[in-house]
Symmetry: C2
Subunit: 372 residues, 2 copies
């Protein structure tokens, strides 16, 4: 009723609030809130009148006001390097599914693996009063900004990487064990010269890239390191000595250097009979180069990769891979986060942080054969 003359500028008509509901139901705001919140006492009649009013007005509570009052926002943050990356977008889906079940929403922020962006992201999320944060931290050592989050009483779960010396929960794949098993598989097939080709983050200290692999690889969990460790462990378990020439670690943002690393490996005097490519970037580069050069897989050389990508079953031969369950890892991280949120961020349970390790699976396909 009462359509004002200038019905054009209606957009100013804002959503009904709880006062409107109360008025329509003929009760006070407190009573309406009590009915909606389902606490305290309310007469049956009032309950019905309020619900009726809610329906008639199409009332939806304002989550901002609710957050203001309660401190709980029903929003969590996901901080990752790049949401368009297949691993992160799959994990994101897992996170979203759990969040939906919990009645929460997810804010995503990309860091491009830059510490400054990450620090900014945590600040912003905190000022949005998120209930918790899932993060794939750029650095496993410098995590002052992340500690600040937990200190503010906001739960944090670290995904895919583990922070050293912090009580922060983490969800990681068993990269070391899975890699060791894969390498062991190759050794079992008679391979004695197995190359390890992996990527590292651009920010990583160059020490890792050249000398003292074993030492520099020690420390907190980070996929690239753990996989090197797994490689070394399998070798040593089989009584083989690691050969510096058969290990290459290049920054993941330099495709040319990746190609070059594979190339160098193939031109060795005593070349490897099997390639273990420790991540999707490297697997792709190696496969490209091999097929460009007309080198037969697995006839001339065996190829075993990490990460299951769509194309690994589309190319011939189909590539055998160790696959990280990215969706499930996202789910697990979210489950753990909501568990923390539920018990009100009690930071006392385990001083070293709960660590969830999810198994990576080995998918045998056609790119690996016995050593000639």
């Amino acid at each position: 009723m009462a359509t004002e003359p200038g019905s054009r500028e209606r957009p100013k008509r804002s959503r009904p609030n709880i006062n409107d509901v109360a008025k329509r139901a003929g009760v006070s705001r407190a009573t309406a809130s009590r009915v909606l919140g389902g606490y305290g006492y309310s007469s049956q009649e009032v309950i019905e009148r309020v619900n009726q009013a809610v329906r008639e007005l199409g009332y939806e509570p304002d989550r901002i006001a609710r957050t203001m009052r309660s401190g709980k926002s029903d929003v969590i943050g996901f901080v990752c390097a790049d949401i368009s990356d297949a691993f992160f977008s799959a994990a994101m889906r897992g996170i979203c599914d759990v969040a939906l079940r919990e009645g929460s929403q997810v804010i995503v922020m990309n860091t491009d693996d830059r510490g400054s962006q990450e620090r900014q992201a945590t600040k912003v999320l905190l000022s949005h009063k998120v209930d918790g944060i899932i993060i794939t931290p750029v650095s496993v050592r410098e995590h002052g900004h992340i500690d600040a989050v937990t200190r503010a009483g906001v739960p944090v779960v670290s995904l895919d990487r583990q922070l050293s010396d912090s009580g922060i929960d983490s969800v990681v794949a068993d990269n070391e064990a899975a890699t060791a098993a894969a390498i062991d598989h190759l050794i079992g097939l008679g391979h004695r010269r197995v190359a390890f080709l992996g990527s590292v983050q651009p920010e990583e200290p160059p020490a890792l890239r050249i000398g003292k692999v074993r030492a520099s690889v020690a420390g907190p969990s980070r996929p690239s390191h753990d996989r090197v460790r797994g490689y070394l462990r399998a070798l040593s378990a089989a009584g083989l000595h690691p050969d510096r020439d058969l290990i290459a670690l290049v920054p993941h943002d330099e495709p040319k250097r990746r190609m070059h690393a594979v190339q160098t490996m193939l031109e060795l005097e005593d070349p490897p009979t099997a390639l273990f490519t420790a991540d999707s970037y490297m697997t792709k580069s190696a496969f490209s180069l091999l097929s460009e050069r007309g080198i037969a897989i697995p006839g001339d050389i065996s190829l075993l990769g990490f990460d299951d990508l769509e194309w690994t079953t589309l190319v011939r031969p189909r590539i055998s891979v160790v696959v990280q369950p990215s969706y499930e890892m996202g789910r697990a991280a979210a489950e753990q986060l909501f568990a923390q949120i539920g018990r009100n961020a009690a930071p006392d349970t385990d001083p070293r942080g709960r660590r969830t390790v999810v198994p990576a699976r080995f998918l045998e396909r056609d790119s690996v054969a016995p050593s000639p």
Copy 2:
């Protein structure tokens, strides 16, 4: 100073607010806010004292309270079918990049192409007071819930699909033109029997899948329809008549039926000499089947696909494709959304909604050859 005895239960120590800043600077809350907001008059001395206090306390304004007061949240929503899909996650990245520049964050919600989820998502986002929504709507006809969003004064941009009879902005690829050009290319190479293999949404009316393709394909922009239209247009421009047997549209969530559609096509009495696969699902299925069957591409049959996926350059032959610039589409949608937000959601500019069409590119590779 003054570390209380029970310094264990510190987490209750909440972040400093603007009152703390004001107190420390020895001014009123209003003055502190004025300095921080940079409006009105403030003496140089007070400005410095306030900034000093901000630094000392590490004060960060509470965005929830700010939203409460101003109605602007610096958050936008992205509603898509599935964030783990390559198209959406790339678009998401584009959206995030623009949002970052604008000082906003992005909440993602998945619908799995279900109308109920989508309606729910818009409600939730509205109650979070988002400044705008980018959406890939499930249905191009039933958009009452989306109209409700604009009616609430919240800008909306539709991505990849266009809503019929609504003033809602959209960003879409020129699917029809790009498809027509691709088909034309095939015809130019002598192909007379070109098959069209595409997917449709599960919810889509079966009418589309069987008869009267041309008629049912009319209407608002939606990639699957536009591509069929482009196909028909190119055929007709070349004086060719469409053959019902050479057109297959199957729900994208039924891989078996996809395979079956390709199979049927190949077993036709007068089989096609070229396959146009109108989306990534179909391209993958067709390539798989062809290579399984040992059918030579492009020797026995030419293959031309839609969507550029990583593997299309990894397999042999490399697949020629029409590629949709997903990242740029996300960017464009976000740009348009913030433009609307900037001019305060004036819904008066163009009653039919601004339509941004971004060109799809044709990438010629090795999977297309002249007709034998």
